[in-house]
Symmetry: D4
Subunit: 226 residues, 8 copies
């Protein structure tokens, strides 16, 4: 073993579960990331990296950087060539405010990495309810809805009372005072008076996308694992 | 001093602040409550008692019990004769669920004790948004709105985005799991994305009514202090 | 309005969302429950009641009690005649320990109320991993998996790493010391290293079943709303 | 949609609620802020921005910066021309310590943006009670009182026991140790032994001002919405 | 060892520290309490028991009960004959509300057990500040002040800004919602803007009395240890 | 499956890990406990039950009760015949106060169920340090030390600085105010300035005994698994 | 009022309470600090500033910096000439580890500002109990003891069981994991099994010194207020 | 005393307990570290420093830096010459993810400082259970297992159900949202359904190694203290 440990990737995950292995970059050293990407290259596998900040990206060797399709807003990077996107977006990503867009981006990029397009409906928080109502038909057309909100997360309950599809709440760390860290939005999703709402961890756009893929894949609407 | 302490009532509060002294019965001994009521009788003052459960009431001397107008749902009791109710209700009390009714009752009874009638709009939680929308005009007609909700408290934000009047959120301890104790509803009110929402403590229907009275009295719409 | 408020049931929920209205009995008075059941009788609608303890049941009028199919372990009651169960169970409910069975029961009874049978796989906590492994094929055969666990909730992550279907984690309040209240199991589900796991509130078997119905109904495998 | 989302401003809020739309700048990208200001310019609407630090301001294009009246202490900026201030200040902003002045500033600037002047009474914490007592008549002359305090927030209760007007407590994040983050001051406001005190989120001077406007506007003392 | 363990009393504490050993009865079995009292009888030592509820007292053998001077409000009991009280009370115990009297009683009885009288000033919470002001000279005459308050504990800071003597804050568990358990009052004492305030645990009247004794004994004003 | 689920005992645990399966009775129904004991009888296996209160025991069929060696203080019961105790106690159980004895009992009874005797050293909390010092040589003679303490748990650090053997801290829920629930003692153990202290969950005497058995068995000093 | 507010110093505090006004610099702007120091200069009063980091100091005008006796370790500064130190140190400051020295420094410098010398006994944490025991006589000679410790704060209880003088615990934010922020040490002090221990806020060396002065001044051992 | 305090090292710890004194560098000033190393040099003792970041190292005098064997990943440094490593690794360090390697390094370096080699098994989190299963025999061969995991810490329970040796869980602060700070992993270890698992503080690789040494030394398999 080197001091930093050898990566032991779960390359079989895609075959086993239909969800490709991905790399949570935060907390990993540059050397560890390089070793992981090296494995991906040898196996000719595309790879998704999440929580990879621009600062972190800059610590990687320049040739590797050039191979990464990096999005600074969502801190995601795609290595290699993911599948072509399906034509019709059957997953809607609905977000309360503009400050939630990094999390929206993480979800959308994760779906795209698996060949699944998403319809984004942004800035429709409940303080001006007409904004949400104006987009309701679009949202109702989706097979799965990912709802993204910080602060008090009232969007989750309102949406879950209006839409019949599975709804995955992604609380975000947007907020101040009691809302710092996103716990209020998380708890609002969990304590919702609307039935059948489920939640993932705060800011976990990746996890919400993976859950949406689990659901969608069961429905036979997602490109088969590569 | 007796072992239990002599009550030192703030009888001047009404003259000073327009809000009558009231008694938070929880945690007081029967002997203390008797001594307080004795003072009220001597001064010929009506008195509101909150958090007085039926069990507690039963520990008081029977003649005293007979003098108390007790409501077991809200655990409030009125001693003596409060002012006649004004004719028109200009305060609306809006509640998300039936389990919130004890807190609604505490607010309504506190207002009534000061001669102020309230319009109650119950069971209009956002899981079925049409219920709230159907009553919106009634709510908008109020000069002050008291909103009562437990669980995730999404009602607060939706209401605050639709109504221009001052809105006082009363989170309730209705809920399970993460919502136990009412902290999620409280935090939802405080972290609301809708502007100008204010909150009182969990289950504090009394406090919300007092705040509504502070606002209404400024507006010259409430009977003068007795 | 009566002191306890008039119930305002969301009877249109089923038409709107494919999920029938249900009654969370905890915190409602006996009079409120009677009024609700009266509405259901008039509309000839079956109705599910959750968190209805045996003590609470006993406070209802005896004739009403006789009309309720009550299960004391899960504290659920069914009023009226729900649809006939489909033949094949496509939802698996996997539980870590016997103390989790009340929550399992709430989920299973909610599904049954909607005509959806479930396969229960109980007492397969990870302390003896062979128990889970022995049932893995049965679990993998399900279209949706509801996982129920208290204490540290390690079952959630292990399951989510082995199974491709959507997995809904229901943390339970089973546990002592730091695990009191179920927050550790909840947080374990949310912080899972396995991808695409979603969670509902602690002890919320009802909510998990509703989420499973949202997913299953999209897949066209559940009897249509009555 | 661009990666950062298109702003969907609630421009009708002012007509609907008498409170103008405002922009919470924290967490928004420079590009999002530019797009929002562009909309305001097109509609010829003044706009208030909160939580806009000097660092953030410097990331905006220089011509836009020049159009913003920015106050570095309160991190607020005003775009365009707000209404002329009324002559008489009927809202008092009372603050415990000098470290609370950024929050005081946010409240005062929000009020000014709506044409409402405020009387500021600063540095009157209860450790030296004479300071508060010396200003009591000024405070009692106000129609609405905004009280701003961090640490243990004892100012809130003392003030609410002395003043009859509506009092809105704004806890601040000023403090160390157990007071870090402002939760003690917030909880002190909520748990106050004085009646009818209401609270907004920690450091939320903007929200307190909006609540004061809801109250004042009902009283017919505030310039009509533009 | 018996199953319940043999008591190992710190009888030398009084010689070592000037503070007599005392028994925290909560959590001890009746058999353990009997064994401890037996030791006290053999050594002819008076003994103070705290947190001994009336229910618990009733589980002791009747002859032992007869030897205990039990106060049901403060749940304290004195076994044997404590020293005669000094004539002049130099310790003041100031309490915010009547619900705090059990804690006041625990402090006063602990002091009395050591021969030290106390002056009690009850029901002087800051909601009606005049009550405290009316008693200020009495309080200022004390050498040590014990302040007892629940809810938001604003009394602590006001008192500490007005009085020069050492002040020991005893937060109480009186309160609801966010104040449940007494943590807000505790944190208010610790985060006070007034200088030199110290605190003991919630409801710990015994500890406050012991601290007052440590201070007073240094001043040579307390009867020497027996 | 019955409604309550069929028990799926991990009977192979003893062969796999040297630690026998045990039953955490809390949260299990009487019917579940009966089914488990029936399995044990069929397999002729002794069985340890923890958290079995006297009230719960009384709900079991009388013949079964008669077969259980139940200890009401520690709420443990032994079914069947455990191995004979070894002669020499090499595990010391050190406890701070008498209220900790139920947890001490759970640990001692668990060890005894595995044939391992323990030396109990009770009531040696650090408030009277001489009590601990007087027993130090006995403690130092042990191969493994289980330390049991509630409140602030200072015993853990003092002991860990004086003794070279492995020390397992068992925080207990003994305490009031901030110490309610045992979290302070737990955190004291985890944050100890003394090196190499390990902790188990609050009140988990069973777990501490199992950990001690893992250590002792490695040392070849414990009777082999049955 | 300027935007930053005019300082309203409590210059009468010293006459009223024997404790001089001091300035908590954190959170105050440079302009506010300058205004305060200007007032002190005009009144010819020495002034203590706490939480004044070297970075903050550097933002003040150079001539003002030159007038401040600044200690970077404790972040305290003294303006003007405090009284000459008394000869004999009657207050002991006992600290568990070297990382606690900034807090020790804050206490010692605050005492010195009032003319009171202190005896510092550092690095005597209980992990090596002999270190404390070796200094016990020195500590017992003090009239008041300030105990400073982070992590699990076991020092507080050990000390309070060995010393008869008043003991003021100052928990520090030294520690990691569960001890982050100093809450464990604080709770250990509050939940101590040793009698009569009192606590101040985390890292509040200033407050502990002020409390010690309240005690000492009562004893007539401290130079009279200037 | 200097302002920063004189170090008082517990050099006798090794003789007393078999565990050498070590230095927790975080929070100590450079001057304090220099003084400590000077003492070590005079006594010719090797010394382990933990939590010594590269930034902190750079503040030490260059000659001292040269004498330190510093590992930037684990932030540990060794001064002087530790004992030669034993040949056979009997302690296994098992880690869930690569981000846990700094904590693994702290444990391994601490063991090495005492002459004890460890076998590291990295990146075997339960999301891909086969990775752990593939290494199970290696882990079972160890006499003591240190398990290192962040996020939900499910590895702890799975491991404790499969391995008979003593297992010490080291939760790490790796994780986001609810897992921030490592509390979920810690609580998972404490609440584990698997028997006999013990835990140390979050990120405390040093403490886990010390506990392993306490166990191993009892087993006579570790080189005697130097």
């Amino acid at each position: 073993m080197t001091a930093e440990g050898s990566p032991l990737m779960d390359w079989e995950r895609e075959a086993r579960m239909g969800l490709p292995e991905a790399v949570y970059a935060e907390g990993k050293t540059a050397a560890q990331l390089v070793a992981i990407l090296e494995q991906a290259r040898l196996r000719e596998r595309p790879l998704l990296l999440t929580r990879l900040s621009a600062e972190r990206l800059a610590q990687l060797p320049a040739p590797l950087q050039a191979l990464l399709d990096h999005d600074p807003l969502s801190c995601t990077a795609i290595f290699g060539t993911p599948p072509v996107l399906a034509e019709k977006a059957e997953i809607a990503v609905v977000a309360a405010g503009l400050a939630d867009m990094p999390v929206v981006g993480e979800a959308v990029r994760t779906l795209a990495f698996c060949g699944v397009p998403a319809q984004v409906i942004a800035d429709v928080g409940v303080a001006g309810l007409w904004r949400l109502m104006a987009r309701l038909e679009e949202i109702r057309a989706a097979r799965v809805v990912i709802a993204v909100a910080g602060m008090e997360g009232a969007l989750f309950s309102v949406l879950a009372g209006l839409v019949a599809a599975p709804i995955i709440a992604v609380p975000t760390s947007v907020g101040r005072g009691v809302a710092t860290g996103g716990h209020v939005a998380l708890h609002s999703a969990l304590a919702s008076c609307a039935p059948g709402l489920v939640a993932v961890n705060i800011d976990n756009g990746f996890g919400a996308a993976q859950a949406a893929l689990r659901i969608a894949r069961q429905q036979g609407r997602v490109p088969e694992p590569r």
